[in-house]
Symmetry: C2
């Protein structure tokens, strides 16, 4: 393969993702009109504030079809939090009369204008990024840094890279994806001077990989990928990015360099499975599926997915500890949430082996021996090498017995998940009956049984 193959693929991708002149103008007109409305609204307030368009649409790195306009209203940092919120919402409602309030670190107004989704976010005007009073205060610094460093060509490569990350499923710093944020993607393009050089470098990374564009970092991080925020020496922009997503980028960088193809940038999800399809897979694999199913708690995704993952890991660790070998595990969430376990071993003998101390550790050994010597249910104590061993009755001889017992609640679970389970508001499915979940989770099962890097 020659570079020109990759160039041709990139050109074809750009055909599809570069906003055209009309789109750019429409966006620019809308942003100008919104900014001028903000100025009008601010004029009615006795406070010195300005407005700033931020985000990908402010710096030419959005993908065609994205309809997000982010406007930040910067207030003096001697304002109280309460004043900031009051002013912010007042301006928001004035600019977007049909908008509604949402809540991130503080409330803001979200609405639509001329077909665009508009966020109108109040923030503090602080002298430097490390001075921020809330997370959103950092955004104007990011925006200023990128606007001053990205030219049109680099912005185009950012778009291609973002499309690539979307294609391979690694785009987004939300806690469900744990991938690459837009800002991180932009900094990496800046770091390597373009998409192809980034691919060639990433293909050979040996994590941990560290960058410090402004050479001002003051902390060390244990993350697989470290990019010191050029506007904040104490922050790793890639803190959320998991080792798996770093590996994902490395793998697909090699893949697309080796075999450039447009389809990688626009990859379709695996076909969903219906219940018959799920049954066929299970029949083929001869594993035992088990699912804990409950109504999804009312949480934002950034809270929900960490809780689901913690719960899945906690239950899986306990299943493993009880010798029910977890072959693979997953968490799904729509209206209902599913903690899913595929077991290689779902049943165990009634006896379990319990190894005691070496006989020569007298006090412990005597204690162990005495504890079991008169236990008619146990075999032993007998010797295996220099240690005592007993074969005693196992608490749960099937994974189902454990999952439907109260012992389930002793596991480390996500807070809200634990509440739901303790309240008994869940169902345990074991074996073929999990196939009925395909109605709601067909796409998830499709991806589960067709796993890709």
């Amino acid at each position: 393969m020659t570079d020109s193959d990759l160039d041709r693929v990139i050109a074809a991708v750009r055909e599809r993702i570069d906003p055209d002149e009309a789109e750019r103008r429409a966006l620019s007109d809308a942003a100008s009109e919104l900014e001028s409305r903000v100025h009008d609204a601010l004029a009615d307030l006795s406070v010195d504030a300005d407005v700033l368009q931020v985000g990908s649409t402010a710096r030419g790195t959005w993908l065609s079809g994205d309809r997000d306009i982010d406007l930040f209203v910067r207030f003096p940092d001697d304002l109280s939090r309460e004043e900031l919120e009051t002013y912010g919402l007042e301006v928001g409602h004035a600019v977007l009369p049909d908008g509604h309030e949402e809540y991130a670190e503080h409330p803001y107004v979200k609405g639509t204008y001329d077909g665009f989704d508009v966020d109108l976010v109040p923030c503090y005007d602080v002298p430097t990024a490390p001075d921020i009073r809330s997370a959103v205060d950092r955004t104007p610094f990011h925006n200023a840094y990128l606007v001053s460093h990205l030219d049109d060509e680099l912005a185009a490569d950012v778009r291609v890279f973002k499309r690539f990350l979307k294609g391979i499923g690694a785009y987004g710093s939300d806690l469900r994806t744990e991938g690459f944020s837009g800002y991180l993607a932009e900094l990496l393009i800046l770091e390597y001077g373009g998409f192809e050089s980034l691919l060639r470098a990433a293909a050979d990374w040996t994590p941990p990989v560290s960058f410090d564009p402004e050479d001002h970092g003051t902390r060390t991080f244990s993350d697989p990928l470290v990019v010191i925020d050029p506007t904040d020496p104490e922050r790793n922009v890639a803190a959320v990015c998991s080792a798996e997503n770093v590996a994902r980028l490395q793998h697909y960088a090699r893949d697309v360099l080796d075999d450039p193809r447009e389809s990688l940038f626009f990859r379709a999800d695996p076909d969903p499975l219906d219940s018959e399809g799920v049954r066929e897979q299970l029949e083929r694999r001869q594993t035992t599926p088990a699912a804990i199913v409950f109504d999804t708690p009312d949480l934002v995704e950034d809270q929900l997915y960490p809780q689901l993952r913690k719960s899945v890991s906690g239950v899986a660790a306990e299943l493993d500890r009880r010798d029910f070998d977890v072959f693979r595990k997953a968490a799904f969430a729509k209206n209902r949430a599913v903690l899913f376990f595929e077991l290689a071993v779902a049943e165990r003998p009634t006896v379990e082996r319990h190894t005691g101390p070496p006989v020569h550790v007298r006090q412990h050994a005597e204690g162990f021996f005495d504890a079991y010597a008169d236990d008619d249910e146990a075999y032993g104590p007998f010797l295996d090498g220099d240690r005592f061993v007993v074969e005693r009755e196992r608490e749960f001889t099937s994974a189902e017995a454990f999952l439907t017992s109260e012992a389930l609640f002793d596991v480390a679970l996500g807070t809200h998940v634990e509440e739901i389970l303790r309240a008994g508001e869940y169902e345990v499915l074991v074996g073929e009956s999990v196939a009925q979940l395909a109605g709601e989770f067909g796409a998830e099962f499709g991806a589960y049984f067709d796993p890709r890097p």
Copy 2:
């Protein structure tokens, strides 16, 4: 419990094991007559040799009812091996006209006289034990050392200790038992000055435990118990004694001190099980038994048992490696031999997980990915953290499939066992059908399902 309880138990044991005057006299008379026959036979030979009674009956440490008389005929060490054997057998047949030849390191004559079992063994008269030309040459040195160090009281304690070792199943330096030899028992009594002091000390041992009665050891040993031979600075008398038998002595030393009772010295074997009893045990345990059964190869026990143990360990390790969890294992031998495995997991899914290299180890990662990328039978490669994983078809989904396959022969087996298996002269039983083995191995199954320290 007071010491006097232990004293009373010891006195009661001695009632049963101390040879009475009549037995001593009968033995002494028989030994004298045999020695004089040896002298007569030697007189007809043109060689300067002497005769020596050795073994427990020579030093008053035998247990009542033992009927063994060991006579060693010491020949000059300038004799060739061939001459030694010729002279030895000539004397042997002259002394024991109805005797037959047996073979240890060289041939010797075994026969009976006046109700005693007599071994008439030729050996070399070497200056010191380290000069020995064959293992039996060492015996006269051991005998001389013990005769000069054991008085009647110590000899009595040796008898009690030997009876104790028999009771707990730790007596014998054969490779089936891997326990305490008579000579080792005698040296330990000498070391501690008596049975009770030995018990009190052993109860607190922290292996490795080392003794060097003559303070002349020249080597280090990695055995759990080291007793440097007082007649040979390079030899550990306890080399054969397993960690398990050291632990066994420690446990029962504590036990008999804590609760002195005669029954420990004369313990009966567990009740044998019939096939119904074996089935009941398996039903209770819910394990899956598997047995490889073949005609016992024609080997002495010291060759047979190490081979059986090696074979059992080899097969068990491979079963474990293939994820069939071996719960317990054993080897039985009578006319037939049995490699016995009790499995906690006897079946596995059709898929097995295969973890590849971290993605960043580029060459290996690419090799792994390419090897499975087009494999329609495999799931993946996908990512788990920074590594590739595939789920591929498992070679054997049941322990039975493995045990009845040729893959069995790839396991490290005892030489003769491997020959038999390769010749196909074996049977594999899995599940309830193993119960039929109770006809031949009822005692072994009885002990297996009633395991004691």
